[in-house]
């Protein structure tokens, strides 16, 4: 089975990110793979091994060994990403709960008004969203192609943006409707 260079590159980028390899080093590694495979027409998986395995080697050379796989995800969760995830979950409970009670015309748990639950949830989501936006647009650790200076992170497809906004919105509307149905 042959792997397309693009697929391999994107998988490798994620695997290197997961192991906390700095952006400039990731860019070098991706450019090396592209340049090598472009020259030899070899299957990247054949000559560099699995993206996870190669990322492990690159990380080990930088003294960042043992961060991949489940361990890597767990390490990532302990940091800021973990806190943001917890906050997003809290917002993801408060906002729909508030909407449900608004629909049902009742007060929320512990007698908290539905609007207060919603406001708190929305505020948390806004803060998390702003922080994420800042992280993405930050230039500190971007993966810039050493050959052209172009951003090497894969472009997010249009539908992914639509789904990431549309799915939660649909869920929220559904919560409100469910609340209404209990009247």
């Amino acid at each position: 089975m042959t792997t397309s260079v693009e697929t391999y590159r994107n998988d490798l980028l994620l695997a290197l990110r997961l192991r906390d390899v700095p952006g400039p080093r990731i860019a070098e590694v991706l450019a090396e793979v592209e340049s090598h495979v472009g020259e030899t027409a070899e299957d990247p998986r054949e000559t560099f091994g699995s993206p996870g395995g190669y990322a492990e080697q690159v990380a080990a050379a930088l003294g960042l060994a043992g961060r991949g796989g489940l361990g890597g995800w767990l390490t990532a969760l302990r940091g800021e990403a973990g806190l943001l995830g917890l906050l997003a979950l809290a917002g993801g409970w408060l906002l729909p709960t508030g909407l449900f009670h608004l629909g049902a015309g009742t007060t929320g748990p512990a007698g908290i008004p539905a609007t207060a639950l919603m406001a708190l949830g929305a505020l948390i989501w806004l803060a998390v969203g702003l922080r994420l936006r800042l992280q993405i647009s930050g230039t500190a650790d971007r993966v810039l192609d050493p050959r052209t200076g172009a951003d090497m992170a894969p472009a997010t497809p249009r539908w992914a943006g639509a789904v990431s906004v549309g799915a939660p919105l649909t869920g929220l509307v559904l919560c409100y409707v469910l609340g209404l149905m209990t009247r």
Binding site: A31, E32, E39, G49
Partner: protein
Amino acid sequence: MDEERWPTEWLRGVLELCVLAVVAEDETYGYAVIQRLRAAGLGTVKGGTLYPVLARLETEGLLTSSWRDGDNGPGRKYYVVTPAGRAALHDRADGWRAFTSRAGRLLVPRTVDA
């Protein structure tokens, strides 16, 4: 013995030194290093093995690298040895030759005494 099938641990021991020697011969790039090692009879080194070695040598300050446009490809990363790299090659190559000569003396075929 088939030259392409040396035990991998033999190559692992000397690969860094051989890569440094190849770059010290002339400015070169990844795939050309692989071809040079193969031509020298050391077998085929994979990209996944070579590039981390080059990166390590560069981190040690023994090589420097720069990206340049290829003939019609996506650009190549060229490596040049530094003065520190040349000095390290000189010292380490001396050490390696002494080591292999001692091992060689131990490995001379002998007739077994009855």
